[in-house]
Symmetry: C2
Subunit: 388 residues, 2 copies
């Protein structure tokens, strides 16, 4: 944990420690007072005072643990109370929007989703639908919302959640953060979907505990989020990179972004459809079923070219960011495990950086299709844990 | 400046402030006591005590400033004394090694360089030559060396300066840091040349004051160093990326690294020689003269294809790291200014990220061929400023 600077006043120190304790319980789940003391580097009387305060406010509950280990008085188990701080998580995709109400500790308390068609994908329609569905869900469950986190497949200004361009949604200059904040009246954070996915993997998925990892996910487009030295990598003005728009085949196809031969034209959903001889509009479920139904002897002939483009892009990513781990999300999780293993081995051989760092693990996400929702909830919790 | 954490002892605080003051004088040059107090956020009596201590040790000198501004007693000017802390900077390139003795404040007090041929490029030969030349130079100038910084065009383990692979030097598994440390008996830091170049630009060049910048330099190979949120970007185990080995033309040429179509095969020195119809072994000076001698109407026809590859690679770099500035170093500084301007404009149009952040400046380094030496000296000063 970080330490407050010299000269901090006692109430600042207390607030700092309280947030650290809540974050620990939120991310890692129920813990004993003794574990909290050890992991946060605080003495037991400080922990007691903090936990007592949180229990009085109904934010945590304490109970004697069921399984007692060793002799002596057992350390009380501290459990976060989901209803004490609930956030709205929103995952906007090209073909679908999902929302969830997520409680302290990460449990999904309620959820809803709907498909987008041409007209219902307009920004106004999407925003109105999000607000209405949220109200219905919050009323049904009788929950108050403390914050909002939104995942968008586009270029987002983090400071206010302004969406500059979301090429595959055909959105441009949408003040999404301001619109939601004005109506819902709570802090709203909007981020690029790949950054949100990387956050989810880092806090609750395959990249937990990893200091340097890249999350790459496939939907219609390809996004990439980078964890560098334990934090999300952002550039100028907080903007994250757009790894799907790395040009990898200069003589290839035109891309929505106005460039040509971007990586997503070779490994996005449409490329997978081509490889599987499915038409462009094939529903996602059919693509996934087709991928999962491939016989071992079909993988090479049908996905050989796709595999090569996936490998080339990952070689570039590993050569750029030197991660120890690459997590593949969304549609990529339906790829045959043998293909993912082969790609990982090839990247380890062909990347100069990977050879130096002793190889890079390439694996599928284990968060399933909920990854972006999980990440959007964590985005929403960032300011909430300080103030709840 | 960073602040020591709560509970720091007075001597730790004093040491911390002393290093911050020295770093400020080293990087920004002579300053008045009043300026130091304002910029470091310390009161004048603290500054006085620190400066008095440094003056007693002969590390700084104080004098009344020549140009007096305003009424009242002038604030004394504090000047770093170059001889008080001297480091050895080493720039190992494919065809040449340069060394310099650099004093506190960044002044080069002496230098030497020699060309590498096939046999003299062997690691043992290079290391022996560096040590001998350093001894001659230090004896001549009667200087003591406090630390060493080395720039190498390859993949380097930062913790001990072990060179895994330097493809263009044909080096592999060279314990460069240990060898120099054992003989010279002072702290030695070795880093990838692009990281060293980025450090130089960030502290003393075009990227000064920039939080997010990428430095890309062309020698035989292409290297890239990234400054992200004000610090050098490193990945797993401290390894930096290898932007020259981004695959950009999958049907292109074989690369030394074992891959094919790496960016450096399209924009490195050999690619420039091809574009200029020069043979592969053409001396660097001739290549530069040829570039500088191009008439305006020759730039398009002769360098059009090269310009396109340079643009594509920079679009990828901007889409990956979202920098506000790209600094082009080494051989790239000899490119026609009109070509650099055209590349900058194209990157601004074709990169999704650049469009969002309002464009990315692309400009040539102003540090000349000394950039890597300047950066290697700063690398060496990192531990020295704490202990001198």
């Amino acid at each position: 944990m970080s330490t407050p600077t010299a000269g901090a006043r006692p109430d600042e120190v207390r607030r700092h420690n309280r947030t650290a304790l809540l974050r620990r319980l939120h991310v890692d789940g129920p813990s004993t007072r003794a574990e909290l003391a050890t992991e946060l580097g605080l003495n037991r009387s400080t922990i007691k005072a903090l936990v007592d305060g949180l229990a009085e406010s109904g934010i945590v509950l304490e109970r004697v643990p069921r399984a007692r280990s060793g002799a002596g008085r057992p350390s009380l188990l501290v459990l976060p109370q989901p209803q004490a701080a609930v956030v709205l998580a929103v995952d906007i995709r090209v073909e679908q929007v999902a929302i969830a109400l997520v409680g302290l500790g990460g449990e999904m308390l309620g959820r809803n989703r709907w498909n987008l068609h041409r007209r219902s994908g307009e920004p106004d329609e999407v925003i109105t639908h999000i607000i209405e569905s949220t109200r219905v869900l919050a009323d049904e469950l009788d929950l108050k919302i403390y914050g909002v986190g939104v995942s968008v497949p586009g270029v987002v200004r983090r400071s206010d959640g302004f969406v500059h361009e979301a090429p595959n949604l055909r959105w441009r200059d949408v003040p999404l953060g301001d619109r939601l904040r004005a109506t819902l009246g709570v802090p709203v954070r909007v981020a690029n979907d790949a950054e949100v996915g990387a956050l989810a993997e880092h806090l609750r998925g395959a990249a937990r505990g990893s200091l340097d990892a890249v999350y790459v996910s496939a939907d219609i487009g390809i996004g990439g989020g980078v964890i560098s030295d334990g934090s999300a990598l952002r550039g100028t003005g907080g903007y994250v990179g757009e790894l799907g728009h790395m040009i990898i085949n200069p003589t290839g196809r035109d891309c929505h972004c106005g460039s040509r031969g971007c990586w997503e034209t070779e490994v996005g959903e449409l490329a997978l459809c081509r490889a599987l001889a499915l038409s462009e509009g094939t529903p996602r479920g059919v693509v996934i079923a087709e991928l999962r139904g491939l016989r071992a002897d079909e993988v090479g002939p049908r996905l050989g070219e796709f595999r090569e483009w996936l490998t080339l892009g990952l070689v570039n990513i590993v050569n750029a960011f030197s991660p120890e781990l690459v997590v593949l999300g969304d549609l990529f999780t339906a790829l045959p495990p043998s293909l993912i293993a082969a790609v990982g081995a090839e990247v380890g051989k062909r990347s100069l950086v990977s050879r130096a760092i002793g190889g890079t693990r390439v694996q599928a996400s284990t968060l399933g299709t909920d990854g972006k929702l999980v990440g959007a909830a964590e985005l929403a919790f960032e300011p909430v844990l300080d103030t709840v």
